[in-house]
Symmetry: C2
Subunit: 308 residues, 2 copies
């Protein structure tokens, strides 16, 4: 089978750190072109826009989107209309409506769409899901805390309308929890702490539930001076499951478990390849819906200004 010819749009931090190394390590793909307005990607043809890539570049079968979520919708729409399979970094779009429109469009066009919730591919997740599948759930506590200055230096779009603020990392936790739990979650209340010179929250406390009234709580903090804390603790009648380091480490009753050796983005691209082969899509809206509902129902408190 010929490798899938891939174009990539938005050669920023996540593309450089994760996507391109994962693509290059997977013989099922060949990266043939990049559209970016910043520094070019070595070893492939570079273009200033997706339009130029599609019109003037070598043929591609699929496009990976790594631009910020605002403005991404029109680009993904253009790629699907051109019959390309699409992999879309998280969060997939700036609004639920845009994301739902892409779901419909991909279905109508018959291409593979993939909203790549990369944290679902962290090494401990599948083992956690297996263990949980036969347990009786009692409560879930998410703590997702990091220093925005360390992890998102100069990324002003995070604080603008349509940017997610602390939900940009927090949606990773939500993507994991919704993948682990059997029933859909919904937001009961949210307390959003918003810097008075920004549109998006610096910190948030969220109370969620499911149709069986499972108690799910999340603490998100983007101004966390210590080492980052990316943990999910799920209490069950039979014991306590804990994910640390964003899902890389799995413990059950404080005993560390054996987990997958595959990297997150390696697994992301393996899954994308599988979806294309199966002519299937994986376009889960639930993490984005939880964020939209947190903004919708949330109570806002203004806090001190943020300067990068």
């Amino acid at each position: 089978m010929q490798p899938i010819r891939l174009g990539l749009v938005g050669y920023g931090k996540i593309a450089q750190d994760q996507h391109v190394p994962a693509i290059n390590a997977n013989p099922g793909f060949v990266l043939v072109s990049v559209a970016t307005q910043g520094q070019p990607c070595a070893g492939v043809e570079n273009f200033k826009s997706l339009s130029e890539l599609l019109e003037n570049g070598p043929p591609v079968d699929a496009i990976a989107f790594c631009t910020p979520p605002q403005g991404r919708f029109a680009l993904v729409q253009q790629a699907i209309a051109a019959g390309k399979h699409v992999l879309v970094e998280k969060p997939p779009c700036a609004t639920l409506g845009e994301a739902m429109a892409l779901v419909s469009q991909a279905q109508q066009q018959g291409v593979t769409g993939f909203f790549a919730w990369h944290s679902r591919y962290a090494p401990g997740i599948e083992a956690a899901r297996d263990w949980l599948s036969t347990r009786t759930l009692q409560s879930v506590q998410i703590d997702w805390k990091e220093d925005v200055r360390k992890w998102h230096p100069g990324q002003a779009w995070i604080w603008q309308p349509g940017g997610l603020g602390v939900f940009d990392p927090g949606i990773n936790a939500l993507s994991i929890v919704t993948h682990l739990l059997p029933l859909p979650l919904f937001v009961e209340s949210a307390d959003l702490r918003v810097p008075n010179n920004c549109q998006s929250p610096m910190a948030a406390s969220i109370k969620m539930s499911d149709p069986q009234r499972l108690d799910v709580r999340a603490e998100f903090d983007f101004d966390h001076g210590h080492d980052e804390l990316w943990s999910i603790e799920i209490r069950c009648a039979e014991g306590v499951l804990r994910l640390d380091n964003g899902g890389a480490v799995l413990s059950i009753d404080e005993v560390r478990q054996t987990v997958s050796q595959e990297g997150e983005y390696a697994a992301v691209y393996r899954h994308f390849q599988q979806l294309i082969g199966d002519k299937a899509s994986d376009l889960d809206l639930q993490p984005l819906r939880l964020v939209a509902d947190s903004f919708f129902v949330g109570s806002r408190t203004l806090v001190e200004p943020f300067y990068d």
Copy 2:
């Protein structure tokens, strides 16, 4: 056929002004009980809670929900779990997640669910829909402006988290437009003006679009001192359609058209009766999604405080 035995929860302004008169005028229904914490409803059995109504009241087939949207989810869930058909006033829930959970639950339980977007039953709407169905759409302008002190006196829940502020009337316009247009809408940007002592906007400007890039704009204002303005103007290649008075008046190229003589809530209950007879549901999430996305992607500006 026996009339449908109906219970009603939340005997406030909308129940007194609209629901109970419409129910009493429709021989297909008989109102047998009311659960309310305020003044009782004359001529039927009154209870302090839905639980008491279900446990101690006369048997009912269906429940109409007229309480504020915050806290309504658990009540509707309880009614569906008890096998009752449910009519839910707009907005159906405080979050999209709750509304989606009710859609699933009604489907699983096999009862009729109806998110009653009452403005879709305004007299001019069906004639407008018919006319539009063969026209080429160009743009849509919504102006929905009223005095909150006149229309929502003392309704503090509107300004609290999960309350919609000016989107409480505005969602009526959104429910009409989404009913009239052939394709789903999504929010591109929203400018929200929020009183600095409230959580919800007093005014909003929203830019929407559909997959064919239709230009849809809305101006919502809750601090409109003049007579209320509830209008929707839809420009087509073939002419201009205009709805005024919240959909009661329909004009095409400034010529007033003949419209239905039936009142909004009379039509709402006729539709509910039909759904129950057909064992069908009508649970459209789109208006609520547009509001959630406006809060999600919206840019907030603090404005002067609001005092009722």
